[in-house]
């Protein structure tokens, strides 16, 4: 039989849940088995309590899984009712989470130097990628895009795990260079130092990143977002069109080789 998802249901307890930037919260949960099982770029789906009429889990990436402490950390943007209810969870509150989900960052090309490109809340799996690259001894730099200085998160985390060089871009110029991540990407790739780009952010941004990488012949992996109902391959609500047909983002993704994606 084809391989079923490795996801399982895990009870979790909130360790902390606090705002870290405008509209962005950081949740640390205790879920030891999940913390052991997650690999970078995978995701989890949280059953958020507080409204018995809202049944679908909220899928989230993670920035840090600590198998020693048995904790998982995620940063999430409060954009609607599910994430608003999640922000109301307090230390000691419990619920359950389904994970690990899907296919994480691939690193199949055995890169020498990697460029990370994050747009908005896409920073969450990018910080996880940074931790992983640091553990693997691969050098990396980052471009982090934000709306304004108030919505910026992740700079300190990237610095603490050993990023060499970070470029910040903001829509309004209040942090780093005014403009988009893609404005900074072209000059960054011109030097020919990078053999892999990992990116997560709005789909229009990732599409542009993928095009720029393709034009200069640099491998690129993208972490795609879709409306997910199950998160383990049973419903086909999450598909991404690829060169080999529609592939579920919750099983074949969320990370895809950018060359495979039909935008």
């Amino acid at each position: 039989m084809p391989t079923p998802s490795a996801a399982r249901i895990h009870e979790f307890e909130v360790v902390s849940n606090t705002p870290v930037a405008e509209g962005i919260w950081s949740l640390v949960m205790r879920a030891p088995k999940l913390a052991e099982g997650l690999s970078s770029g995978q995701f989890m789906s949280i059953a958020v309590p507080g409204d018995a009429t809202q049944l679908v889990r909220v899928p989230l990436s993670f920035s840090k899984a600590d198998p020693v402490k048995g904790t998982v950390e995620t940063e999430y943007a409060v954009v609607g009712d599910g994430t608003r209810r999640l922000s109301l969870m307090r230390p000691g509150d419990t619920s359950d989470v389904l994970g690990p989900g899907g296919h994480g960052w691939r690193l199949e090309s055995h890169p020498r130097r990697v460029l990370l490109v994050a747009g908005g809340i896409g920073i969450t799996p990018i910080v996880s990628a940074a931790r992983w690259l640091a553990r693997e001894g691969v050098e990396f730099d980052a471009i982090v895009g934000t709306k304004t200085v108030n919505t910026l998160w992740g700079f300190d985390e990237l610095m603490s795990v050993g990023v060499q060089h970070v470029v910040i871009t903001s829509d309004d110029g209040t942090a780093g260079d005014q403009g988009f991540t893609t404005d900074a990407l072209e000059p960054a790739l011109a030097g020919g130092e990078y053999d892999l780009v990992l990116t997560c952010g709005p789909e229009v941004m990732m599409h542009k990143v993928a095009d720029i990488c393709a034009a200069v012949g640099v491998a690129c992996e993208v972490s795609m977002e879709r409306m997910m109902t199950c998160g383990f391959g049973a419903c086909a609500t999450c598909v991404v069109p690829t060169r080999s047909g529609n592939v579920g983002a919750c099983m074949g993704g969320p990370v895809f080789d950018a060359k495979e994606v039909v935008w």
């Binding site: 079923p4 049944l55 409306m227 086909a236 598909v239």
Partner: protein, 307 residues
Amino acid sequence: MSAPNMAVDLGGIKMHNPINTAAGTYGFGWQFEGFYDVSQLGAITTKGCAAEAWPGNPKPRMCEVTSGVMNSVGLMNPGVRGLVEQSGEYLQGLSDKGCAVICQVAGHSVDEYVAAVELFEELAPFAAGLEINISCPNIAAGGCAMGSTPDGAAEVIRALRPRTDRPLLVKMAPARVVEVAKALEAEGADALSVINSIPAMSIDVHTRRSRLSRPTGGLSGPCLHNIAVRMVWEVAHAVDIPVNGVGGVMSGADAAEFILAGATSVSVGMSNLVRPDSAPRILSELVSWVEEQGVDDVNDLIGAFEC
């Protein structure tokens, strides 16, 4: 007291208990093997498959509403050959363990339904029965359009009946259910699945756009359960063939409600997606309910509702 008999007969499909799964919410079964042993269910129903693979609709394919979800998957499927190649061995094993495998059949026209049934006949010895989906709200032709009138529904089953000896279930649209059910029984359907998701709409008022990639989608979940119970009750009264109740089953009590209204078996749908281990929990709650009712056979409770 010894454990009650839970085995039921759904129009020739032998089930060791009344719990089935709803097509499209259960993949091809193996997706759930990491969570529990699927063979403990009485039956599973696989995703609707056509003779050829279908790509389905563009994103977004799902939005959440009050006590339910709407989907516009559009019957994306690998085709009968794809199903058999990817999942055939697993489904044969499941059938060998005593779980009835019901394969759902999709089509845009009578000819396409015929082509798909012929392929299942040729390639799928594991299928205990075929469920004909004449009620998908998410495809332009076939589906709901054919299943919503007695003549349209009858035409499909008339064409298929001579082509298979296997039990034929029909997945009904939530429209004119009594008339359609009678027409289907007259054409030789063996059982009826009542109901498919209800055509529905959800609009993002800020952007004025549909929350799906199409104007409408199919509504599933607890919000439609009591409509489905009423329809199961009406159909069960109108025909002599058995009914499989579908719609918003989240608990053993929801399943019991269908059985009291006249259903022989019950499919778990959306519940599988939000909590992958739902179906065995619902089964064990159903067994407890049968015990609590003091009967030694679940069949004694089918249609045992009193007003």
